[in-house]
């Protein structure tokens, strides 16, 4: 963890609540992956 990141922790209680909600009701994973790796359609090399 960088110093910048380590120094930024301020609201762990609310952050934990948010994380619990995010974990319980995850967004559509397929959409997220498409968004991350939109150019990953497999191509076959000969």
């Amino acid at each position: 963890m960088s110093n910048e990141t380590r120094n930024s922790v301020r609201q762990p209680g609310v952050a934990a609540l948010l994380a619990a909600c995010d974990a319980a009701f995850a967004a559509d994973r397929a959409d997220a992956m498409t968004s991350r790796n939109g150019e990953t359609t497999p191509e076959v090399r000969e």
Binding site: C21, A24, D28, N37, P42, V44
Partner: protein, 250 residues
């Protein structure tokens, strides 16, 4: 690129049309004839992954990587397989390696950030997202990912700045609006945060609606009196009232 009419072209065509059993049948024959065919291992791994046979997919992906360690596509496939079997930390390491070695590092950085979040490594997730933002501050997806990772760390101010950038770059995006609501809550701006979550609950469907409603309930309970807590204890009733705009924070 593959030439039409070759055995691998048939495998690719089967994969493209989602006929995974056919991919397995064809690659069985192909690998019996040409055991060191890395592309056949790759396609077999993709079919196995699609069928949910993750352990076998990992073995095939590992074979492809072993046969051609420099092929970025095989490394990405391995990261996807690792993520699929819940090894988010290992997947993040793989994406991190790709980010360092590939010119499309923005994609890998964002993928690494996602896997780090799933692996409960929010600090390293934020570092990866921050590196993606440095590559292009006008990248809405990178700003959004940074906002989410900083919110996970409890950094409301940082999350708000990144969410504001994401909203500016992608007006009306519900994920950016949710990131902004999260950041406002972290900053103690509970009223605007609740209003934002209520608006999202009315717009969204499915798991996304349930998620923002759960956040709104948690926030509401922090402020509610006895009657409000009673309402919050009945999720369907709370959700309906939230979506109709009947609820406000005192």
């Amino acid at each position: 690129m593959i030439e039409p009419g070759t055995p691998l072209a048939s495998v690719q065509a089967a994969l493209d049309r989602g006929d995974h059993d056919e991919v397995l049948r064809l690659t069985d024959a192909l690998l019996a004839e040409r055991p060191g065919d890395d592309a056949a291992h790759e396609l077999r791994a993709r079919a196995l992954l699609a069928l949910g046979r993750v352990d076998e997919a990992e073995q095939q992906a590992a074979d492809a990587v072993r046969l051609d360690p420099d092929e970025i596509r095989y490394r990405e496939l391995m990261a996807q397989v690792l993520a699929a079997r819940g090894a988010h930390r290992d997947a993040a390491v793989e994406y991190g390696r790709l980010a360092r070695n590939d010119p499309r590092q923005r994609d890998w950085l964002l993928a690494e950030a996602g896997e780090r979040l799933d692996a409960a490594q929010a600090g390293q997730a934020a570092d990866a997202a921050r590196a993606a933002v440095r590559l292009d501050p006008a990248d809405a997806e990178a700003q959004l990912t940074l906002a989410v990772t900083l919110a996970r760390l409890g950094d409301g101010a940082g999350a708000m700045a990144a969410a504001a950038s994401a909203e500016r770059l992608r007006p009306g995006d519900p994920r950016a609006a949710e990131a902004m609501a999260d950041a406002r809550w972290l900053q103690g701006e509970d009223g605007p945060a609740f209003t934002g979550l209520a608006e999202l609950a009315a717009r969204l469907r499915g798991a996304d609606r349930e998620r923002v409603t759960a956040k709104a309930r948690a926030l509401y309970r922090q402020h509610a009196g006895f009657g409000g807590r009673l309402l919050a204890a009945i999720p369907p009733l709370f959700g309906a009232a939230l979506r109709r705009g009947w609820l406000h924070l005192a």
